[in-house]
């Protein structure tokens, strides 16, 4: 506002401290990570510059391939379930007058819990001796499907992914619900008068008008998956091997367990770049289809 512009010192007082903290601890740190990613370093002696060797090594490492695949399969399944369930349940709640607030409050509950708490909960739920999952399978006669959910390398990835998807469906329901409430009643009413049923309204009006909000959800799910840590770390330590590890967990082990800070920084850069690229890619796709 021009009237306050004359106070040139205002930028120093109001933005100065934040600018210094943010620049030093966030922005400079990213460049430090980039530099470390080009070195071999144990965080004690001096970093040795090795160029892109860490990157070459990472992409030829079978463990990294598994972790990368976990991350992308996890992302695909999260997008599939969280967006579709988010849309369906948001629409169901949106069309419901009685219990609207109660349903919204209940489905959002897991979102406020810490990821560590949810991971602990599911460690107990999936426990093969005392958890209800195996017991339910036995009760409905599917005994052969019972597993050691937390250690069987065929299923452990899905075991860890389950709470990751479960915990945040409610978040996307509430976000999409808020979007639906902003659609004007008139549009939906006139469509109904023209004879459109709930399904038609859902697919032809609600979804097209929600594309920008769906895009926000996609970005949140994507960045969430690339920094995923707690569920996998707490439930299985990413194991057996790296069977249930995600990039965030893999990076943590490289740095803080194996003291390979250079290689860990390489993984961190992969996380950063992948998150940024996928975010921008989805933005392009959504822009093409929205009107």
């Amino acid at each position: 506002m021009h009237i306050l512009r004359k106070y040139k010192w205002a930028i120093l007082v109001f933005v100065g401290p934040t600018l210094v903290l943010y620049t030093y601890f966030v922005m400079v740190s990213i460049f430090s990570t980039l530099y470390y990613s080009l070195t071999t370093w144990d965080a004690i002696s001096k970093p040795i510059f090795v160029g892109f060797r860490n990157y070459v090594e990472a992409f030829s490492n079978p463990d990294f391939a598994i972790v990368l695949r976990n991350t992308f399969v996890g992302l695909a399944l999260s997008l599939l379930f969280q967006v579709s369930f988010g849309l369906i349940f948001a629409y169901l709640i949106y069309r419901t007058l009685r219990g609207f607030r109660l349903y919204r409050a209940l489905v959002f509950l897991p979102v406020v819990l810490s990821q560590a708490a949810v991971a602990m909960m599911f460690t107990l739920v999936f426990n093969s001796d005392v958890g209800p999952i195996n017991e339910i399978l036995r009760l409905i006669g599917l005994e052969p499907l019972t597993r050691n959910w937390l250690s069987d390398k065929e299923v452990v990835f899905y075991t860890v992914l389950t709470p990751m998807i479960y915990q945040y469906i409610g978040l996307y329901v509430v976000i999409l619900l808020a979007g639906m409430q902003s659609i004007s009643e008139e549009i939906i009413e006139s469509a109904r008068i023209d004879g459109a049923g709930s399904f038609r309204v859902f697919f032809n009006i609600v979804i097209p008008m929600q594309l920008d909000i769906i895009f926000i959800c996609i970005v949140m799910i994507t960045t969430g998956m690339f920094k995923a840590f707690e569920h996998s770390y707490i439930m299985t330590w990413g194991g057996p091997g790296v069977r249930s590890a995600f990039l965030g967990v893999y990076m943590y082990f490289k740095a803080f367990v194996h003291a390979q800070y250079g290689r860990a920084s390489t993984i961190a850069m992969v996380i950063l770049v992948a998150a940024l690229i996928i975010t921008m890619l989805f933005r392009k796709i959504v822009q093409r289809f929205s009107y």
């Binding site: 009237i3 306050l4 109001f14 740190s29 419901t96 349903y103 001796d129 690339f226 940024l276």
Partner: protein, 288 residues
């Protein structure tokens, strides 16, 4: 249906259809809410069962209800210390972050609108914390701030700045009329007076939203606590409950009680400040 007009009688089948629709909607939502809450309820029930009961029927109610898991968990997580730590980190982080972010947001929304600094600050929202984890850790180590309250609070402040500035700038842009500020300036107020006398008091709702988000974020934070707080006396509640899950621990009741201790304060907060909490946690995605 006694007073239906002939006109509406024709639509009887569609009314029946609508009723069936309502029934199935309610049923689906009820089943889904049950599924969502079941793991939480099941763990809470387990906290009141001893190992003998836990290894029996997993669906049974605690019979009799056992309470000894809780004293064990209280001492296991050093409740007094870790709860105090979590509250200190949360409250101090919220105060510092809100002050810094509100000042920056005031500048970006009222003094230099459209400043490219805004974009610079907002980029931080897209950056995964792993991208800065190692340099932050090294920095803190070199400054001798590892294993200190100050160190972890600095980290929590800087990782929450971007989102708080984003929320507060948006809030101030629309929530505080420019006329009011202009009038104050004409009356002789400088930027500092305008900020502390007008902007800050009028931003309460925005600060409550951002503050809730930041507090819950700190309360639930795990990765930095895990890497930066090795000293038992400095750990957060979140971290120490995780530590109940020792590699060889088979005390399921103890773990369940730990989870209950950890989630009770957040659930209470959610029940009391529901609108505020929902608003805070969805603030990045929903405008207004």
């Amino acid at each position: 249906m006694r007073h239906t007009t002939p006109d509406l009688l024709q639509d009887r089948s569609s009314i029946v259809k609508q009723r069936i629709g309502v029934f199935f909607r309610q049923l689906t939502l009820a089943i889904w809410c049950f599924t969502t809450l079941y793991p939480v309820v099941w763990v809470v029930l387990n906290a009141f069962r001893d190992n003998k009961q836990i290894y029996g029927n997993p669906f049974a109610f605690p019979n009799p209800a056992i309470f000894r898991n809780f004293p064990k968990a209280f001492s296991g997580v050093h409740l007094l210390t870790t709860l105090t730590n979590s509250i200190i980190y949360g409250v101090v982080t919220v105060i510092v972050t809100m002050l810094l972010a509100a000042m920056a947001a005031f500048y970006l929304s009222k003094i230099a609108r459209g400043s490219s600094l805004y974009v610079y600050f907002i980029i931080g929202i897209m950056i995964p914390i792993q991208a800065i984890l190692i340099p932050l850790f090294i920095n803190m180590r070199n400054m001798h701030l590892l294993n200190t309250r100050l160190g972890i609070i600095i980290v929590y402040v800087v990782i929450n700045l971007s989102m708080s500035i984003f929320i507060l700038t948006g809030f101030m842009k629309n929530g505080i009329p420019n006329d009011l500020i202009e009038a104050a300036v004409i009356d002789g107020c400088g930027p500092l007076e305008v900020f502390f006398r007008i902007v800050l008091p009028m931003s309460q709702a925005g600060i409550a939203t951002a503050g809730t988000l930041v507090f819950l974020g700190v309360w639930n934070e795990f990765l930095f606590a895990l890497t930066m707080l090795a000293a038992p006396g400095l750990r957060t509640l979140n971290l120490s409950v995780y530590m109940l899950r020792g590699p060889y621990s088979t005390d399921q009741g103890l773990m369940a009680a730990g989870v209950v201790i950890l989630i009770t304060p957040v659930i209470l907060m959610y029940i009391v400040f529901q609108e505020q909490v929902v608003k805070g946690l969805t603030a990045g995605a929903i405008k207004g």
